[in-house]
């Protein structure tokens, strides 16, 4: 404890002073926040530098700070991630841990808001045993934590950071995303839609009212316009995140009579929307795309023919996943423990832990079996190519990930009680990504119909 423990407490208190004692009185708020954050950050850097990690001694446990939503409407998405982390950590520990060190996780609930998440990150980073952060689910929190990760020099793995803005500057040393981002994720839907329904004329969009929803709409629309310029967007709705009632939005969608309804609603919002829209005929009057539809397949009766995907390759029933014994074992263990099969947020979390473990293995291989420092660990993540439960996660020079994109439609099969994904396509991760440093929207605008023709077709992934 002594001076280091005191420093942690002081750092944490400082970050709360702004609210507690109204330090902002008479000063521009942003300046005060900078000062307070700077002081807390400086203290935390001091703490980090003074930790025994630099000595490369094996700790008694390897702590992971894992950030996800464990309460509120977003918990419908966040809890499957936490469940997967619990299961994976148990499996890792059953096999002797990482480099012989048992893993323990500290979960941080992102529902507390960005200020709380930042304070928790600082607190965890100040503890030497927490060498890696797996953060976060919310893109907004990812963007808030990224500069902190660089400042404190803590390897941070974005297990569900989808926003393409996260690594755009290409200068990140400690933030990694072993997933795709909003650019390939939503271009994939535009291409799949045009392959499946080439005569589409009108599209309506209903996305959550924050960066993820607006970014997705922008990218999906830009891709559609580039590949089929005569497509018209007839309605764009952005209900508040966590909204329980979509009846008016559903009426608005009905009056617009679009050929296609696109949505990247998620969590409880998606469940509520599907339950309310299905009886009102939205799924029969329009081709519906639910970008995160796989997450509700086991909970909500989705009709056949809805275009769904997994924002990456993380479907536990994909041909690649079924061919891997460890994935089948993971899915069955998950089902036995939590009563449901894993949804793609579970797979993303499990893959993030596999990614972290692989980085430790690589780092220790490089330094002759010694316990790596945070810097050595980050170095091992850079440019890595890791076999995951569902494919491969390749890390580019800008720390962004290349992961394949699976898209398909809901079907019912006699072999399965639940709706499955059929007529699938698997787009290669790099085929839908702009080059590092390239402006994504400018790149999308250059796409031509020939580009889509060169890609695999629906039904080709079996």
């Amino acid at each position: 404890m002594t001076s280091r423990g005191m420093s942690i407490i002081v750092a944490r208190c400082l970050s709360s002073f702004e609210r507690l004692f109204r330090l902002d009185r008479g000063l521009p708020r942003s300046n005060v926040r900078l000062v307070v954050d700077g002081l807390a950050g400086a203290l935390a850097i001091g703490i980090v530098a003074a930790t025994p990690v630099a000595a490369q001694e094996k700790p008694s446990t390897l702590g992971l700070g894992i950030f996800t939503f464990t309460s509120g409407p977003a918990a419908a998405y966040g809890m499957p991630g936490k469940n997967a982390a619990d299961l994976m950590i148990d499996e890792i520990n059953a096999k002797g841990g990482i480099g012989g060190v048992p893993v323990s996780a500290t979960y941080v609930d992102e529902a507390q808001g960005a200020q709380g998440v930042i304070a928790e990150y600082r607190r965890l980073a100040g503890d030497a045993k927490n060498q890696v952060m797996i953060a976060a689910l919310s893109s907004a929190n990812c963007l808030a934590l990224a500069p902190l990760a660089e400042q404190l020099e803590v390897p941070t793995v974005g297990w569900n950071c989808d926003t393409h803005q996260l690594l755009m500057d290409g200068k990140s040393k400690y933030v990694f995303r072993p997933n795709g981002n909003t650019v390939p994720e939503f271009i994939a839907y535009a291409i799949y839609l045009l392959d499946r329904k080439p005569d589409v004329k009108t599209v309506a969009i209903i996305n959550p009212d924050y960066a993820f929803g607006h970014d997705a709409a922008k990218i999906f629309t830009a891709a559609l316009k580039a590949l089929k310029p005569d497509v018209e967007i007839v309605a764009e709705l952005y209900p508040k995140l966590g909204s329980p009632n979509y009846q008016t939005e559903i009426s608005r969608l009905s009056t617009a009579r679009p050929d296609v309804v696109f949505s990247n609603l998620w969590g409880a919002d998606l469940e509520n929307f599907v339950r309310q829209a299905a009886p009102r005929g939205i799924f029969t009057s329009s081709q519906v795309i639910l970008a995160l539809g796989e997450t509700v397949l086991q909970r909500v009766p989705l009709p056949d023919g809805v275009i769904v995907g997994v924002l990456g390759d993380g479907w536990w029933m994909s041909p690649d996943a079924k061919a891997k014994p460890e994935t089948v074992k993971f899915a069955e263990a998950y089902k036995a423990r939590f009563g449901e099969y894993p949804v793609f947020p579970s797979i993303k979390m499990a893959n993030a832990l596999i990614y972290v473990k692989a980085a430790y293995d690589t780092a220790m291989q490089k330094n002759g079996g010694k316990w790596p420092t945070r810097a050595e660990l980050a170095d091992a993540m850079k440019g890595s190519k890791v076999e995951t439960l569902t494919g491969t996660a390749q890390t580019r020079a800008d720390n962004d990930g290349l992961v394949d994109q699976i898209v398909g439609v809901t079907i019912k099969t006699p072999a399965q009680q639940l709706p499955m994904i059929g007529d699938m396509v698997r787009y290669k991760g790099d085929s839908l990504m702009p080059q590092a440093g390239q402006d994504p929207l400018a790149w999308i605008a250059t796409l031509k119909p020939e580009f889509a023709k060169s890609l695999p077709k629906p039904g080709s992934y079996k």
Binding site: A75, G242, N245, Q247, E249, S251, S254, T255, A268, E271
Partner: protein
């Protein structure tokens, strides 16, 4: 746009019905007890949770699904019977005659306790039970498919407005409440048991809040945080209508519903601010709300 007029009006009415249920109990309690109950939103969501839980139980035991309609009503009665007297006698009565700040702080504390209590009892996952909605089917109006349950909600809201007016104007209890609202001390001096009136009025407010939550459940999800959202909207409606005025709450619900629906149809980016913009406009013109006044106390 012309083909959207009928859906727009229907959506406004359906939206107003849900908003009215959230606000009318708050305004009733304020008119009688002169207490702004910040915990009102929590009682709304507790009504929703209890109704959804009972409906899920009915579905899991494969009982007659029409029992779920009774479950909606009786869950509200149960919540009111338990929480009404408990909160009024245990907490709210200590705030009578105290400043508004004290009343708000105490009921806000209660709100925080009830919100955490819901998390402990019902968990953090979203609840949803749509049996009543499915049982009633759908109707196509103006080319748009509506749930018959939405139309039932509009009828229920009208029924509550008329029922409350009848209760207040044509029953003994209503006259006693009117007397307490007009002059509490005078009512006491002529032998009216004001404590009993307060318990009944507060419990009626809790019943209306819980009924709102229960009736919303078949078409909406119930999740942590709903209480806070409901509370803010209920305050806006009460402020527009004039605190303590039942017809004011009904008209204000219509205004807020129409503002929100118009925003979704015409300017979706203004969806979240539309109810509060409507409140701002009304309060600029009539600072005490549409039916409110500086001195006269009526219900």
């Amino acid at each position: 746009m012309s083909n959207a007029i009928i859906p727009l009006l229907l959506d406004s009415l359906a939206s107003a019905a849900l908003i009215f249920f959230a606000a009318v109990g708050l305004t009733l309690v304020f008119s009688v007890l002169r207490v702004l109950n910040v915990a009102h939103g929590s009682l709304y969501s507790i009504g929703g949770y209890v109704a959804a839980s009972i409906c899920l139980f009915i579905a899991s035991r494969q009982l007659n699904p029409y029992l779920s309609f009774l479950a909606l009503l009786f869950s509200a009665v149960g919540v009111a019977a338990i929480f009404g007297p408990l909160i009024e006698r245990g907490l709210v009565r200590w705030t009578y005659g105290k400043s508004e700040a004290v009343q708000i702080l105490i009921t806000f504390g209660l709100f925080l306790i009830l919100e955490d209590l819901q998390r402990v009892i019902f968990g953090v996952q979203s609840f949803y039970e749509d049996a009543p909605m499915r049982l009633l089917g759908t109707t196509s109006i103006g080319g748009v498919v509506y749930l018959n349950y939405q139309i039932l909600l509009i009828a229920m809201a009208l029924l509550v407005v008329v029922g409350l007016r009848l209760l207040i104007n044509h029953t003994r209890l209503g006259r006693l409440i009117t007397a307490v609202v007009a002059d509490r001390e005078m009512a006491q001096s002529i032998g009216i048991d004001t404590n009993r009136i307060f318990i009944l009025a507060f419990s009626l407010g809790v019943f209306l809040a819980a009924l709102g939550g229960a009736l919303a459940t078949p078409t909406s999800g119930i999740a942590p945080g709903l209480g806070a959202d409901t509370m803010v909207l209920a305050f806006a409606v009460a402020a527009i209508g004039g605190l303590g005025r039942i017809e004011g709450a009904a008209l204000a619900s219509l205004i807020v519903g129409l503002a929100r629906v118009l925003a979704i149809y015409l300017a979706p980016s203004l969806d979240a601010v539309a109810p509060y913009a409507a409140m701002l406009v009304v309060l600029l013109i009539r600072p005490y709300g549409l039916f409110g006044s500086v001195t006269a106390r009526r219900i």
